[in-house]
Symmetry: D2
Subunit: 428 residues, 4 copies
C-alpha cells in the first residue's frame, strides 16, 4: 500500500516496468544533454542567491532519487556518501540539515566528474529496483520514480534559467547555444477573446501525474472577462519603456515601485542599451532586440505596471486555466531548441503554452480542500504558499511532457530570471 497520494495511482501503476525504465533513462539523459555546452568552470558558478551552480542541480536531482526512492524502498541501500545528504538537500527540513543555499558555489569537491559518477550509481540502483521490486512495492517505487522524473524536469528548466543568469553576469557575455535556430516573423495584431460568466471547474482531474498543489478540482465563479490573443511583444513593451514607464510611480504597486528604485530597474532583466540601441541577451548570445518576439524576463511588478499602463490587467489563474482547458498543449518547449520565445506565427497562434510562463494576478495559495503529500514530500509545494504569484503555461525552457493546463508554477513578484511573459486581460 502506498503512503504517497498522487492524483491517480492507477494510472501510474499501469505504467509497465520497461516503459518506466526507458522513460527514466530518457529524462535523466536529457538533463545531461542540456549540460553538454558547459565547461567544467561553468558548473561551479552561482551568480546570485536565487540560482544554483549547474553541478548542484545534477547532484541534487540524484539526491532526490536516493532520498525518496532508494533510501526508503531499496532493500539494504546505503547512501553513496555520508555527507551528500547535507550537501545536496535543497530545503527539506524533515530530512535533516542542509548546506546554506547561497554557499553552493563554494563546494568545489565533489568534482563535476564525481557528481556524474554519483548519478551513474543512482541510475544503476533505481533501474535495478524498477526491475526487481515485487508487485506490491513496485507500485510505490513507480509513483516515487514518476515524481522524481517530474522533479528532474523542473531542474532542467532551472538549469537553463541559472545558466543564462550566470553567463550574463560574466562581462564577456558568453553564449550557451550560439547555433540555436532563431524564429523570425511578424507578430499579428493583438485582439481580444471573450469568455462568459459562470461557475467553472479548475484543478487536476484526469489520469496521469499532477502535483499536489493542482488538487482538488473545485468550482469557481468567473465574472465575464477577455484575454489578449497573444503575449505582449518586445515592441509593445519598448513603448512603455520609452514612455518613461519605469519613472512613473502611479503605474506601480507600492512594493513594485520600491523595488524599481532600490534595484535601479529601467528595462527587463536581459535588455541592454548601447548607444541608443536596445539589445537582448539570450542563450544564443547578445542579439538586437526583436520587436515581434514576446517580451520576457520581467517581474510580476513590471507585468502589472505594463498592464495598468495599457489599460488592462493581468488574468487570474482560473481565467487562464479555463481559457486553455480545451486547447492542445503546443508551443515552443525546450525540445524546439530555440531556447527563446518565438513571435506568434499568426492569429491562430495563441501562445497558450510554451514560449513563456504567464504571470497571473493570483497569489499562490491552497485550493479549497488541498492536502499536501504526507511526510517530507509535503514540503514540495505547500510551504511556499505565501508571497508568491502563480504562473501558467510553461516556457521555451520547459520540457513539453512536463506541462498540462492545470500546472501551477510560482515565483516571488520580484523574480526576473525565470522565462516569464505577459498576457493581458480585461473585464468582459
Amino acid at each position: 500500500m502506498s503512503n504517497l497520494t498522487l492524483s491517480d495511482s492507477r494510472a501510474i501503476s499501469g505504467v509497465d516496468r520497461s516503459t518506466l525504465a526507458a522513460r527514466y533513462r530518457e529524462v535523466r539523459a536529457q538533463t545531461e544533454r542540456l549540460c553538454a555546452p558547459l565547461v567544467t568552470e561553468d558548473y561551479q558558478v552561482q551568480a546570485c542567491n536565487e540560482t544554483s551552480p549547474p553541478k548542484w542541480h545534477l547532484a541534487h536531482s540524484a539526491w532526490f532519487f536516493e532520498t525518496f526512492v532508494l533510501g526508503p524502498l531499496a532493500p539494504g541501500y546505503s547512501p553513496y556518501h555520508p555527507q551528500f545528504g547535507h550537501l545536496f538537500n535543497s530545503y527539506y527540513q524533515a530530512i535533516g540539515s542542509f548546506h546554506a543555499r547561497n554557499q553552493r558555489h563554494v563546494v568545489a569537491r565533489p568534482t563535476v566528474e564525481e557528481v556524474y559518477a554519483y548519478r551513474r550509481q543512482v541510475d544503476e540502483c533505481v533501474l535495478e529496483l524498477l526491475a526487481s521490486a515485487a508487485e506490491g512495492p513496485y507500485e510505490v517505487v513507480a509513483e516515487r520514480v514518476v515524481l522524481g522524473l517530474h522533479h528532474e524536469q523542473q531542474h532542467q528548466e532551472l538549469l537553463l534559467m541559472d545558466i543564462k543568469r550566470n553567463f550574463v553576469a560574466n562581462p564577456l557575455l558568453p553564449a550557451y547555444a550560439p547555433d540555436a535556430p532563431r524564429a523570425v516573423g511578424r507578430a499579428p495584431e493583438r485582439s481580444w477573446l471573450s469568455f462568459a460568466e459562470g461557475v467553472q471547474e479548475i484543478g487536476f482531474a484526469g489520469d496521469g501525474f499532477c502535483f499536489d498543489n493542482e488538487t482538488p478540482r473545485h468550482r469557481v465563479f468567473l465574472e465575464p472577462y477577455r484575454l489578449a490573443s497573444r503575449l505582449v511583444t518586445n515592441g509593445e513593451y519598448r513603448a512603455f519603456v520609452e514612455a518613461d514607464g519605469y519613472g512613473q510611480a502611479g503605474l506601480w504597486l507600492s512594493d513594485g515601485w520600491k523595488t524599481v528604485r532600490e534595484q535601479g530597474w529601467r528595462s527587463p532583466l536581459y535588455w541592454l542599451e548601447r548607444e541608443g540601441d536596445w539589445w537582448e541577451y539570450t542563450l544564443r548570445g547578445l542579439e538586437p532586440l526583436d520587436p515581434d518576439s514576446p517580451v520576457c524576463h520581467l517581474s510580476y511588478y513590471e507585468a502589472d505596471a505594463f498592464a495598468r499602463w495599457a489599460g488592462a490587467r493581468l488574468p487570474t489563474e482560473a481565467e487562464l486555466e479555463v481559457a486553455g482547458a480545451g486547447r492542445p498543449v503546443e508551443g515552443s518547449f525546450v525540445e524546439s531548441g530555440h531556447f527563446h520565445p518565438r513571435p506568434a506565427r499568426d492569429e491562430e497562434d495563441g501562445q497558450w503554452f510554451g514560449e513563456l510562463w504567464q504571470w497571473t494576478a493570483s497569489a499562490y495559495s491552497a485550493y479549497p480542500g488541498f492536502r499536501p503529500l504526507p511526510g517530507a514530500l509535503g514540503e514540495y509545494n505547500g510551504k511556499f504558499m505565501a508571497n508568491q504569484y502563480v504562473l501558467r503555461g510553461g516556457s521555451c525552457a520547459t520540457p513539453r511532457s512536463h506541462m498540462r493546463p492545470t500546472y501551477r508554477n510560482f515565483f516571488y513578484p520580484q523574480d526576473r530570471w525565470p522565462f516569464t511573459g505577459i498576457r493581458l486581460a480585461t473585464e468582459g
Copy 2:
C-alpha cells in the same frame, strides 16, 4: 459634478450640512481624546519603522483635509505652512515629495502644541466650507469630508497600535490606560458552524460609505466550509507554544519559518515569560496572561501555523464575509474602553466583529472590475495590492462606526503590531 466616485454619492449628499459638521467635530475630537493620556514626550516616539509618532498622526490627518478638501475646494485657501505638505504627506506620490517614513521621530518642530493649532485652523476652515459651499460644490466637499473622516478613524486605530508598540519598547513598560475595565469570564467550548456550497455575492452594495477596494460587488463560488464559533484563546495558543510550535519547521510556511528564525519569535508579540509564568502587555499595563481572552498580536505566519497544528486552516475573506453578512456589527470596539479583546461571553457570542482583526487566507487583491478612485486618492488602497493579506471584522481599537461586513483591512504577513487574532476554518 464630482470627480470622486464613492459607492453611492446620493447617500452622502443626503447628509445635511449640520449633521455632517457635527459628525466632523465628533470624529476629530475623538482623535484628540485618544491622545489625552499622553505626555509631550510620548507624542515624539517612533519605536520601529512600521509605526509613526502620535504627533505625526495628528498632523497627517489634518494634512489630509487640507490636501484633499481645502486645497482643491476652498476658494482662496493657501497652505497653513509651506513645508507641512512635505512633512505630513504619508505616501501620495502624485501629491509630491514626502519625508522619509522612518525619520518621523526626528521632527521635533512643529511642537505638539503647534500641531494642535494646525488642527484647529484646519477644523475652522473645513467647518466654514461645509457651511458656506454652494449646493453643487457642497456635494463634492461632503464626499471628501466623509472620506477624510474615515481616514481619520483609521488613524485613530493606528494611534492605539503605535502607542502600544512605543510603550512596550520602553523598559519601564508604562501603561496607556491603567484604569480601563478588564473583562473576565470563561470562554465557551469552541464548536463549528457549517456553511453550504454555492454562488455568493460579496463586496459593498448598500447605501453609505465604503472604500474603493470593497467594490464592485461580485459573485464567488464557495465550496462547503465550517467556521469556528469564536476566536482562538490565549489558553489554546499557549498549548501550541508549549508543544514547541515555534520549533517545528513542518508547521510553518517557508517564509514564516525564515522569519521565526531571523526574529527569534517564541510567542505572540506582547507575551512575556518571567520565571515560568506568562504575562501579556496590554494598553492597561502588564497583566498575567488570561487563558480565556482571545490570543492577539500575531502575524499571519503564526495564525497559519497554529491553524495547521490544530488540524484546521484560516478562512478566506469571502467565507468570513458571507458568514458575517447577516449579523449585527456588534462587539468590543474602541468605544467600549477596554482597549483589549474580551473573552467570548457565551455560545451566542461569535466575536464576528470587534475584539480582533481576523487574518484570512486571502491575499489582498483587486475584486473583478475594481477601479481605484481617480487622481491621487487612487493611491489610497490600490497600490498596496501585493504581498499583503486581508483581515476582517475590526478590533477593540476600531471605532464602531468605521466597521461594516465588507470592510477589507490588509497587512503584511509578518506584521504583529495590529490588533490581530485567529478564527479557524475547515472544509465543510
Copy 3:
C-alpha cells in the same frame, strides 16, 4: 587610600570642599543652561545612531555620579530608580546591562521633568557627601567628583554636537541660538612654522586633572616638520570641492573613497548648495558660507584628501602637542557663545586651541606604559584604542576649563558630526 589613580591626587585633594562644591554646582548648571533653548520635544530626538537625545545626556551624566560616587561612597545610598542603571549606562560592561544605544529615542518616560528631578536628587546627595565625608574618604570622593565633572563637560560638547545633528535633520532647519554673535573678518594668508628635529616629551605631567590616556609622559623623536599658521578656511576647501575633489579617487584613502561613494558625499556635512550658492547650517541657523571661517564638520577622510590635494599632510599628535605646548590655551570655546568657529583674527592668531578639533594623522593608541584606571572606569578610554584617530585642541563647543595641550580626543575616521577642522603639515 584611593583606588583611583589620577595624574596627581595631591592637586585634587588640595581642592578645598567649598571650592569643589561651588565648581560642582557651576558645571552642573552649565549643562542645563545649554538646554535652555530646547522645547520638550527636542529632548527626545536622536537623529542617527551616533547621537543621543538631549534628555539621555542629562540623565546619563547624573547616572555617572550616582554610579561612581554615590553608590560606592555615600553610606546607605540606594539607587534613585531600579531601572535607571540599565537605561542610562552608556557602555560600561562591568557595571551591568545597558539599553540599546540606537533605541534611546524610544524612551519617552521618564519625562524631561522627571529627569531634571533625578538630577536635583543626585546633586543634593553629592553636595551632602562632599560636605560630610570624613577626611580620608573625602579624597576619594573628591577625585571621583572631579572625574565626573570632566565627564559632564564632555557631555556638554556632545549635547551641542547632537543638537546640531538633530536640528539639521528636520526639514524646517530650526536654529538653536539664532541670536548668537557672528564673528566676521578676513583670514590672513597661511604661512608655515618650522619645528626642529629632536627627542621631545609628550603626555601629561603637571598638576591637576588629566585622563588616563594622556599618560605616561614619554619621549618621542620628531623629524623636522612644518605646521600651517592657521586652520584651513571654507574658501580654501571650496576650491577643493570645485576642483572635483570629491570625484577623484586618487586623492582619497581607499576606505575614504568607499565611504564617499556609499554616502554620496559632495561637501562637508553641513554645507548645502542651493541654486549655485553654498550655505552652511550652524547652530545659529542657515547662513551663507563664509570663506574666511574655518571649514568644519568633516571626516578624517576629507581632511586627509584635502591635505593631499594641497600638497601637504595632516600633522601627528606629537607634532601638534609639541607645537602647542608653550602656548596659552586660548581661542573660541563654548563660553564665547559663538557656537561656531571664528576666522583667524590676524597672523598672531594661530588657532591652536578652541575653534575646531584638529584631525591628526595619529591612530588612537596607548602611550608606552599606559595603564587604564582600575575597575569599570578602565573602560572610559582604553577600550576605544582601535580604528579611531586622535584630534587635538578643543572646539567652540568645548568648555574652556576642560582643555589642555595634552588632551586626546578621538573619533572614527568617517565621523563628521563633531566640530572638526584641518591644520596642514609638511616635512620640515
Copy 4:
C-alpha cells in the same frame, strides 16, 4: 630615465639580463607549482569577499606585467584581450574600471586553461623584452619586472591563504597538501628579552628592492621594552579559551567585543571543537590541535585580548624591527613545504621570521617623509593607510626571498584568514 623611484635603482640595474630572466622564470613557475594540487573546480571558488579565486590570482599577476611592463614599455604591444584589463585589474582606479571584487567567482570564462595560455603569452613577451630592450630603457624594464615579481610573490601567499579559506568552507574539508611534513617538538618555556631605550632608525636603507611604504628610513625614540622569546603557542591560547576569554568583555577592545558577539567567535578561525576535543584545520587537512605549535589565524582583536589577559601587550612595529634588525632572515617559509608554522625548536629559535606574521600594535600609516610611487603604482600601498594594522616577519606561506626586516604587511583588525600569530611585549 626611470619615472619609478625604487629604493636604489643602481642595485636593480646591476642585475644582468640573464640573471633577471632566470629569476622571472623561477618566480612565475613557483606560482604555478603552488596550484598543482588544484582541480579545475578549485580554481573557481571564492569562499568569502576577502578572498579571490585561484584562477583570478593567476590572471591578475599576468595582468600586472602586461599593464605596468608590456603596455608602457614593449614597443607595439597590444593587449592580449580587450576585456582582461577590466576583469583582472584589482583596484587601480587610475588604470580604469574593474570588475566587482566579490563577483570574481562568477567569471567562468576565460577558463583555467585559457588563463594559463594568457600567462604563457605574457611570459614570452616579458622575456623577449628583457632580452631586446636597449640599455637605457632596460633599466626601467628591469625595475618594473622586479616590482612585478615581488607582486607575484605576494599573490603566492594570497593563493595559499585563499585556498585554505576556500577549502575549509567545504563541509568535506579537503586537504591541499595531505603529505606535507609535520614538524613536532616541545616548545621551550617563554622568556623575555630586554631592549634599552634610545633613538633608533627604522625603514629600508640597504641595496636591493623594497616597497615604497618602507621608506624613508627615519628615527624613532623607543622607551625600554621587552619581547617574548618566541610566539604564543596553541597550548597557551587554549588556556585563554578555556578561561572564557571570549566571554569577558573587559579583555577586549570595544570594536573587538562587538565583532566577537556579531560573528560568534569562540576560538581562532581554524579551530574546531568536536566532542570536547580541539582540532585544527591546516593545509594538510584536519589535525588534532598541537599545543606546542604557534597559535595562528587570529584577528588583531584576539591577539590584543590575549595579550591583555596575559598581562602583556603587543609590540609596536618599531620595537619588532629593531629587535629583528641584526638577525638572519631564517625560519619556516613557503619553501619548507610545511604550509603550517612549526613549534620553536629550542631557546635559540626566536621565530623572528617565517612561521607567522606577527600582529603589531601599530596602525598602518605613512613614515615621515613618505612618498608613494608616481602614477598608478602609487595606489600600491599608500591608499591603504587607514584602519589597518602592521604585521611583521613573514609566514610559512611567504617566499623566503620576499622577506626582509623592514617589510610592512597590513591587514584589517578583524582579518583572520592570513597566517597571523602573536608575540608578546611588555614595558622594559
